[in-house]
Amino acid sequence: MLRDGKSTPEFVEKMLAVFGNNPHGTPNYRLIWSERKMLWFMGEVAPEYIYLEPCWILETWLPPIKAAGPEAGWNELMEAMNGEYPRQGVYFFSQNFPQDWSPSEENVRVLAKAIEASKHIPYEQRADAIRENLKAKEREGIERTAQEIDELFDSAAQGRIQQPVTGKKNNFRTPEDFERDQERIGRISHKDYARLPKAGGKLIQ
């Protein structure tokens, strides 16, 4: 259900029409202003996206079986909460945009295309990609910790106070930093040399 409010730019509607209509003649994708979307839930009509700051939302139409599962499984509890089985399908949240974002044809097109392409992928491939991304995040976490330890060693080895900043932004070293470290290497023990960081930190002079 849509109530009055900020209307979608015509050029976006035209562009989304490229992705076709559902069997009920409405578009498969639509861009709406979040405050317009109303929902029937537990006997009341209420704004659906009350939990979001007002923004543009790209919605996808889903057929009944995808949106709500088989009709045979639509039990009394689901009916009490959501009303009748949605035989017309459901428009559902797909992507929201920052509040100050204005719809651009290209951005909306790319998102809709990516969602379309995401629809027919075997579960195993999906799971593998999710695990791969998790692994990458874990690796990042370990690298970040290692970097922080390196920076601490750097400070400790050189007896300097380090800026309370960590991470990549703190690892831009100037030629002067490098030369200074080279000088110090001659003065510090082999053990300390081994501890010198690969990337190092920005020292307060």
Partner: protein, 424 residues
């Protein structure tokens, strides 16, 4: 003179060791436990060994009625009613041990591609947090329930709750007698097949239905880190924060939908709306802290629902977009517009919503290296039991004395009993 061949120059040839050290295992994320510790609404709350009191208001107070102001009796009133919930801290440990020679043999770039000390320092905190995160998804420290046993191989619902080298105990049930006080060790973790392989045969009597519990567990309810599933109970049974749910029906239990099939967007919309009704539409801060927690299985099911962009097309952090130029590289994973945290631990048949602002950690000893009071010593030599001398093996511990708590579970929700997509 014959030409030199490889055997003639073998003394000259260098051995090359690649400097990268790929990890062939995945211990899981620590995102949820880290959020609670650091960024949760309540963060880490320093507490003594006396229980943390959590005041909870259970009734609004006041009595409304019709009145006759033309000389009628107005009647007596009432006021607010509060009860305290309690949280006690528990001890958790991460123990590392290596011989002195293992450190000496790797303590410079000339000797080793990476020093054991640096590797331990870089990884131990992450690994400890991942272990704690697994406990957060393992009620009473139950990492899994055995569904099949074949030799040393145990099948469970989610093998990712354990890690290679982890010690575990077996109990027939909570409150039962441990099968063996000597822990068993995971020699392999096969997440895809949902199997743990033990280094040796399981203890005598271990059977299907046994609980695989974290080492050190006494096998009793509530003896481990409080789990999200201790708080995310939809019935009015059991206790939470030491309060009896039956005494406060509807106030200490979550809203839940029994999935009973594949995850659908309508189910997600329903639990979101149920939470909103408990939170109120004006509490934007709390609403904004709502996140969905799922395992890989339900994350894949959510993708298959057809409303989101597959991770296949998502860039990994720091990389460009894999396929779709123009897709924002920072596009977050969302479920109905709320952050979707996919992680490896926990029940693969559930979707849970968490309001991070409701969560905190009561902390007696913050997460960090273990030192005896008044000392900065963090490395401890092993002492020989035969002659009392020092053994050339060194122990390091990371410690935490804490417990996780949620001050208003009724505002949270879950979908339970979802089917796991085929082949996952």
């Amino acid at each position: 003179m014959a030409a030199s061949n490889t055997s003639n120059v073998i003394g000259l040839q260098k051995e090359k060791v690649l400097s990268n050290l790929p990890k062939l295992f995945l211990t899981g994320e620590d995102k949820v436990i880290t959020m609670i510790m650091r960024n949760g609404g309540l963060g880490s709350v320093p507490v003594s060994k006396r229980s943390l009191r959590i005041p909870l208001q259970i009734a609004p107070g006041g009595k409304g009625r019709l009145a006759n102001f033309d000389g009628g009796t107005l009647g007596r009133g009432g006021s607010i009613n509060t009860v305290p919930g309690f949280v006690s801290t528990k001890g958790f440990l991460w123990a590392l041990e290596s011989t002195t020679e293992a450190y000496w043999g790797t303590n410079s770039n000339d000797k080793s591609v990476a020093s054991l000390t640096s590797l331990e320092q870089a990884q131990q905190m992450e690994n400890f947090k991942q272990f704690l995160d697994a406990l957060f998804f393992s009620p009473s420290g139950t990492l899994g329930v055995i569904t099949a046993i074949s030799g040393n191989v145990l099948t469970v619902a989610n093998a990712n709750n354990g890690y290679i080298g982890q010690d575990v105990l077996f109990y027939p049930a909570l409150g039962g007698t441990v099968r063996s006080a000597t822990p068993s060790t995971f020699a392999a973790v096969d997440a895809n097949n949902k199997q743990w392989t033990l280094a040796a045969a399981p203890p005598a009597g271990t059977a299907v239905g046994d609980l695989v519990m974290v080492d050190g567990s006494p096998g009793t309810a509530g003896s481990s880190l409080s789990s999200i599933y201790d708080y995310h109970v939809s019935t009015n049974t059991g206790t939470v924060l030491t309060l009896n749910r039956a005494t406060y029906p509807g106030q200490l239990n979550i809203s839940a939908i029994a999935g009973g099939g594949a995850l659908t967007p309508v189910m997600v919309r329903a639990i979101l709306q149920l939470s909103i009704r408990k939170i109120g539409t004006k509490n934007k801060d709390l609403l904004n802290s709502l996140k969905f927690i799922v395992g890989v299985e339900q994350a894949a099911a959510w993708e298959a629902a057809g409303v989101s962009i597959s991770q296949i097309f998502r860039p990994q952090s720091g990389q460009g977009l894999k396929t779709f130029d123009g897709l924002p590289a920072t596009t977050p994973d969302t479920m109905a517009g709320r952050e979707l945290i996919t992680q490896l631990h926990g029940d693969p048949t559930r979707v849970d919503s968490m309001l991070i602002k409701n969560w905190g950690m009561a902390t007696t000893k913050e997460l960090g290296p273990y030192s005896p009071p008044g000392s900065s010593q963090t490395v401890f030599p092993v002492i020989s039991t035969t002659d009392g001398s020092v053994v050339a093996s060194n122990l390091k511990y990371w410690a935490l004395e804490a417990d996780v708590f949620c001050i208003n579970p009724a505002q949270e929700s879950a979908i339970t009993g979802l089917t796991i997509p085929t082949n996952l």
